[in-house]
Amino acid sequence: MPKHSNDRLQGTLDLLILKILNRGGPLHGYAIAQRIHLITDDSLRIEEGSLYPALQRMTTGKWLRAQWGTTDTGRKARFYTITPAGRRQLHQEERRWLSLTKAVEKALRFA
């Protein structure tokens, strides 16, 4: 099975995509990338292409729903929306992420 070199990054990317789509949608891939740049102040340096494996996986896993539409400039693009299952996943991931960062923070402070 294909393994990603950075599992943590993959998890982060999933979380970011779900978060962005939860706030508003439907969005196409380019728009999602723009939002990621925007909310992370360009500090998370990822290639935009890496969004697509994640989008594809989450769509197959029924966290997202994809629909074809046209962009403002009249191009064909796939627009993603979050599903109820995706929303449940987002809440779970958020809790896990927060508890993890809290633990790491604690560790950093006391070490």
Partner: protein, 902 residues
């Protein structure tokens, strides 16, 4: 993982990949648009898009990989869940796995045999181009089976353009001495062209050169692989060493590969037949094999060979044999493929077996499908809930298919193990005339076939609950109350049950017909007494026993030694035992009857015997007397004929006292031939020559061995068969193993160099004659038995389930005062109706299909009323019993409990 890569290639071609490509292009274009808006040039914008996006192709592949990974994970999850569900219901799992394993195992083993024996019986390159060059003759009323002669060989060799090589061959038994005990072995004498025609090379050493196939050439031999291993321990040093074959020192020059078993697996040694064109047309002592030139059909070859036969008298001017054979008997070529010659009826039998185990698999699938139906109905609620929660049709399909695939894979694996054992058993018990039977094993093709069968089985019984499950959504609110089962639900069930009954009956009828044939065949009077008699063949080498007189004296000395052994009650010998083939035949002349010119007198088979042969064999003397030792000693020209001989040559007459003779050519052309007249002194019962059940028994003539042929009589003098090799028959009260050592000692007293071959009891010979039918009967009976058992289990299962489903209804009936017996009748009637319909369909199918096995039957019509009625009755009885058991349970229900059951 390679398989994922492959899967990816499949997915790549789907719309999923097209969608992704489109999506990524849009994204890149949008980045470029943004760049252009910031004032970058086209190239710069494109450059920036590349950097920001990364490699689109790589991401496209990774996106698809993600999807596949999820599919695999999901499927795996389904399989694990299915496995857990199956483990939780061990009875269901065990029943289905065993049913499938039995059926799949049977199919795999028969398939392994068919695929080796039938599909590819000849292990030679382009073996479908090989033909058996046989001949027939209109005047002799022989459609085929005459074989070949030297003259025809040269005629075809030099002039037939449709043939790419031709060879002559003939098999003999000779004694091999030197390097261990003397041994009777089978030698095939062949022209040097044999190996090139078959396109086979020796594994060690070389094949004959053309110069070794002419008269006067040094004696050389090529060994069969089996003999090389058995007698010489694979010693490559055997090359160049002399062995003694029939008393002649012969140099071994090569060893053929193990797969080369021509003309049959019994051949131990090939020697080059010394022949040349000047030897003339010759007689019919050979068989021929040839290779068709590419693009030529057997029909083309037949036409050309017949043309060449018409030209024989010009090719062999003045040769009386060529003249006599061509025009007078209206000779014609009867070539057929070598495969046809070797396989004969065996192929048909095996295909029928494969079809019958296929039917068994269908019955097994119907059974498992029924079990599945029960299961799927029991979990209708669960499925309905899943659908309500949004599970797609695909998800539900995967839910059921995961179970059926798991079951069939397990069943297939166990079936393969069973087949492995079964194939080994088949190889041991199979008839020896099955070509390549010893080579049969479960190879890759057979395993692949089994896997494909398992997959097919999984689809068949896995799909039935799905097909049935169409209105599943409705069942959520229906499943609450279930006093009566819906009609549609039972219809599938009853269809499966009826189908099982029909299929089982077809198999039962087939095996019943074969069983009747077998009984009839075993009841055939062989004309001799097969009990407690041992036979063996013994040959006196020409070098030490060069003339008939010494041969007779030696045989008589051995017979005298044998008769003194304890327990031996009778002993004699013959040149040819019953069921050993034609051996020696010639046309017969009756004294006082002129043979009209051009007509060919009828043929009889000649046997030379020692005194007391009929008494030792238990062959009944019907009239006159048998041949005695006195006849042998005094060289009396007295012969005994069998009933068939008497009927053919002396219809409605008493042949005793008449004079007959073996036909012969005149010593000089133009003169009248001089016959040695023999007086008929008795008539004996017929004995079979080739097969137990011969529609036209051969005319046979027995003569004292002292007046027959010997090593000092050329075959062309045609007095009678050569008596150098005789088959002995020893009737005794001692067992075979007790007799053998003393028997060997008795022969050693005369000559320790003599080899004893083909030791067997007369009963063995009889059994061998019906071996093929026994083999078919056993296998068909097993197939029919398994089908019947599975069918009965199926009926029982269905009826039990129906009773369970109707428990509430039955409770109501009983509570309202219905008689238990009438309740039982109601249930049985329901089952009986299905069983009767199934039986009717089965009978019709069997009636239509039984003609396919007609050629395997003996003495039984393929529409034998007795067999059809018996098997149908038997099946119905068993089916009714299977219905009655659940019915009895229904009748014994306590109405109160029954009503409460739901």
């Amino acid at each position: 993982m390679l398989s994922i890569r492959k899967l990816w290639n499949v997915v790549r071609r789907t719309h999923m990949d097209d969608d992704l490509k489109q999506e990524l292009e849009t994204h890149l274009a949008l980045i470029e648009e943004e760049g252009r808006a910031r004032g970058l040039s086209v190239d710069e914008a494109r450059q920036e898009a590349r950097v920001r996006f990364g490699n689109p192709l790589a991401y496209r592949e990774r996106a698809l990989d993600e999807v596949i990974a999820m599919w695999i994970a999901d499927t795996w999850k389904d399989v694990i869940f299915a496995a857990r569900r199956l483990v939780r219901s061990p009875a269901f799992t065990l029943a289905s796995v065993l049913t499938l394993a039995l059926a799949i195992g049977a199919n795999a083993s028969i398939f392994a045999v068919v695929q080796r024996v039938v599909r590819n019986p000849l292990p030679y390159p382009d073996s479908d181009r090989l033909i058996d060059v046989d001949h027939g003759a209109q005047r002799l009323n022989l459609p085929s089976g005459m074989g070949m002669t030297r003259g025809l060989y040269y005629q075809y060799l030099s002039r037939a353009h449709t043939l790419d090589g031709i060879a002559l061959y003939a098999s003999d038994a000779v004694t091999l001495t030197g390097n261990g005990d003397p041994e009777r072995i089978r030698v095939t004498r062949a022209t040097t062209t044999l190996a090139p025609v078959m396109r086979v090379r020796p594994v060690v050493g070389r094949w004959f050169t053309d110069a070794e196939g002419v008269p006067g050439a040094p004696h050389v031999a090529v060994l069969a692989y089996g003999l090389w291993v058995r007698r010489y321990g694979r010693d490559p040093g055997i090359l160049g060493r002399p062995v003694t074959l029939a008393g002649v020192p012969t140099e071994v020059i090569g060893v053929m590969p193990a797969s080369f078993a021509f003309p049959d697996p019994r051949t131990d040694v090939w020697i080059a037949e010394p022949i040349e064109r000047s030897m003339g047309f010759g007689i019919w002592t050979f068989r021929g094999v040839a290779r068709l030139r590419d693009g030529v059909t057997a029909g083309d070859a037949r036409a050309e060979l017949n043309g060449l036969i018409g030209d024989l008298s010009r090719a062999y001017p003045g040769d009386p044999h060529a003249l006599g054979n061509g025009e007078q008997i209206k000779l014609f070529a009867a070539p057929r493929t070598l495969k046809e010659m070797i396989l004969g009826d065996v192929a048909r039998g095996l295909w029928i077996l494969l079809a019958s185990v296929g039917l068994v698999l269908l019955v097994a699938c119907a059974n498992v499908a029924n079990l599945f139906l029960v299961r799927s109905e029991a979990r209708q609620r669960e499925v309905a809930v899943r659908i309500a929660l949004g599970a797609g049709r695909l998800g539900i399909a995967r839910y059921f298919l995961a179970e059926s695939v798991l079951l069939s894979i397990t069943g297939g694996a166990i079936g393969l193990a069973l087949a492995w054992g079964a194939v080994r058993l088949l190889v041991t018990i199979g008839p020896t005339n099955l070509p390549r039977l010893v080579e049969v094993h479960l190879d890759g093709v057979a395993v692949a076939y089994t896997l494909a069968l398992s997959a097919l089985a999984a689809l068949v019984f896995g799909a039935i609950p799905l097909w049935r499950g169409t209105p599943l959504a409705a069942s959520l609110h229906e499943s609450g109350r279930g006093n009566t089962a819906s009609r549609g639900r039972h219809r599938v069930r009853q269809l499966l049950m009826g189908g099982q009954v029909a299929l089982a009956l077809v198999l039962l009828v087939a095996s019943g017909l074969i069983l009747r044939s077998f009984q009839k065949l075993r009841a055939v009077d062989p004309g001799f007494d097969a009990s407690s008699a041992l036979t063996f063949s013994l040959g006196l080498p020409d070098r030490n026993y060069p003339n008939r007189a010494t041969v007779v004296v030696t045989h008589q000395a051995i017979l005298d030694q044998l008769s003194t052994l304890p327990g031996v009650t009778a002993v004699s010998a013959s040149t040819c035992l019953p069921l050993a083939g034609g051996c020696f035949g010639n046309t017969v002349v009756v004294e006082g009857r002129a043979v009209p010119p051009g007509a060919v007198p009828p043929i009889a088979l000649f046997r030379a015997v020692a005194g007391g042969y009929f008494e030792a064999m238990g062959i009944r003397v019907l009239r006159g007397r048998g041949i005695t030792r006195r006849d042998v000693e005094r060289r009396e020209p007295a012969v005994v004929v069998n009933e068939a001989f008497a009927e053919r040559f002396f219809p409605n007459q008493n042949p005793v006292g008449e004079h007959v003779s073996s036909n012969r050519a005149p010593a000089r052309a133009g003169e009248a031939p001089r016959f040695t007249w023999l007086t008929i002194v008795g008539i004996v019962s017929n004995t079979p020559t080739m097969a137990l059940a011969e529609p036209n028994p051969a005319a046979q003539l027995y003569m004292p061995m002292s007046i027959a042929g010997g090593p000092d009589f050329p075959v062309s003098s045609l007095v009678g068969p050569n008596i150098s090799v005789m088959s002995y028959v020893v009737r005794s009260t001692t067992t075979r193993s007790g007799l053998l050592p003393s028997l060997r000692r008795a022969i050693d007293d005369v000559d320790p160099q003599l080899a004893v071959a083909q030791v067997r009891t007369l009963q063995d010979t009889l059994d061998l004659a019906s071996a093929q039918m026994t083999f078919m009967m056993i296998l068909l009976a097993i197939a029919a038995g398994v089908a019947l058992t599975l069918g009965v289990i199926g009926i029982y299962g269905v009826m039990s389930y129906i009773v369970t489903q109707r428990t509430g209804e039955i409770g109501v009936r009983l509570a309202l005062g219905a008689e238990p017996a009438s309740v039982a009748r109601m249930i049985v009637r329901q089952g009986a109706l299905v069983a009767l319909t199934g039986t009717a369909i089965g009978l019709a199918t069997a009636l239509a299909g039984s003609r396919l096995i007609e050629s395997l039957l003996y003495g039984v019509s393929s529409r034998d009323v007795g067999v059809f009625a018996t098997t149908a009755l038997m099946l119905l009885t068993v089916a009714l019993f299977a219905c009655w058991l659940p019915a009895r349970r229904a009748a014994r229900l306590d109405p109160l409990q029954a009503l409460r059951a739901d």
